[in-house]
Symmetry: C2
């Protein structure tokens, strides 16, 4: 009987892989990966194969969605399926897992660090105070959703922080920067005027989480939108009501203006 093991490589460069994940790769007959739903920006395939001690077959979007290659291999032996972050963030992986189960293939998930906990951690913000996570997407000619703006507004109203993930355009190998996302939010603000993004709104940016030199910044929107956060991967956090301790963390860890500590008191 076959086995399909989903392994999260975590953030940045693949060295976030767990000891358990490394052992599973060693015991696998085939090692696949997909990097179109999320990318590791701090490595290349050659380095990653060296770090993980295995050769890797990188699947295209079509191959993952069809699933045939992976499922056929997993019916014959033990197969590792690698991806960035935690392995079940993408619906297409859940779909693949369900299809494996329907084919009587045993499935295992080996977790990895995810941006959804790492970004709050780097900023020193309390995890339980986050509302719904949103994604700012690249606007396309016939598809420019703005629901993420409304969802940030909802969270703010409830005093909750929002993790704002940024789109990946896999076809053009392009990751949205925090500055691009701020521009999109500002444009929607100009039309909708719900007060989500004002000059004095505190905006936090985390860049290259999981690397040795992550960018961890917080400041007023008017200043942050002009700042250079280095190469992506970037994420944004728009804080809701800050606890005193969180304000201290944003000042101490992310260089936020000291004034926010008094405001949180």
């Amino acid at each position: 009987v076959g086995e399909l093991i989903f392994i999260g490589l975590g953030l940045h460069d693949g060295t976030d892989i767990s000891l358990k994940g490394l052992n599973a790769i060693k015991k696998s007959n085939d090692v696949f990966a997909e990097f179109y739903t999320a990318k590791l920006t701090g490595t290349d395939m050659k380095t990653l194969e060296k770090v993980l001690g295995t050769s890797i077959w990188v699947l295209t979007r079509k191959e993952v969605e069809e699933g045939t290659i992976v499922l056929e291999a997993a019916q014959k032996g033990r197969v590792a399926f690698l991806c960035a972050g935690d392995p079940m963030f993408a619906t297409t992986h859940v779909d693949l897992m369900l299809r494996a189960r329907h084919n009587s293939i045993r499935t295992v998930i080996i977790h990895g660090p995810s941006i959804s906990t790492s970004a709050p951690s780097l900023l020193g913000l309390q995890h339980y105070k986050f509302g719904r996570t949103v994604t700012v997407v690249f606007p396309k000619e016939n598809y420019a959703p703005e629901s993420y703006y409304d969802q940030v507004a909802e969270n703010m109203k409830a005093g909750l922080h929002t993790l704002v993930l940024l789109d990946i355009d896999a076809d053009h190998d392009r990751l949205m920067t925090a500055n691009e996302a701020m521009k999109l939010l500002e444009d929607i603000e100009k039309r909708n005027k719900m007060g989500v993004i004002k000059d004095d709104t505190i905006i936090c940016v985390v860049g290259r989480a999981g690397s040795d030199d992550p960018t961890v910044r917080a400041g007023y929107f008017k200043d942050m939108k002009k700042e250079d956060f280095g190469p992506p991967h970037h994420s944004i956090v728009i804080p809701g009501k800050l606890h005193f301790m969180e304000a201290e963390a944003l000042v101490g860890l992310a260089g936020a203006p000291k004034k926010i500590i008094d405001m949180a008191k």
Copy 2:
């Protein structure tokens, strides 16, 4: 100059530690850990020390809160500070990090898998559809907060899922079980009657996330409250509005009644 490296050991037994974390431990002069804010239920200290290849000084709550031992060691050399999950979940770790910075100690965070992404992943639920996370706490004589109930209600109203974390009573080495938490929620429901917990409410339980045999279950409250989920660690997810694909996942991965797929259509 000293260095303080916070390392997340992830879930269950410490084998979730990352390659990066293992390398950092090797280079550290002292290795501390705390297990009162979160526990690894699938291992013991002797096994953990063997897995990590180091001896570990486990700190008491008082020693972590005072911070003196850790900060003095980190002023002299490279110090690893281990904990379950992701390292910045507990406020007291953020506090320790800020104090290290004030003492010109370099700080590093090495992330680990967290229950807040692992539980949704195991159930195949979409991460971005989760609202605020809540914790059900052991009621004490003079302190029996019920705000977690209201917060589940808020999330439900917005169609969002709720991750319900369960309390740890470190003094008595006791972890709340899913059944205990369901009983507490049911008791509050009887008084507040907001319809958060009804007989036919879908409840999901994840047990021992990160282990080789995690419990992944979903079903009606009336059935789930009688079920045995094995030894803790347990977490609960109370789903909001289910997408068709999520309903399929709860049926396929967690044994939920097939009826919920039709309801999600």
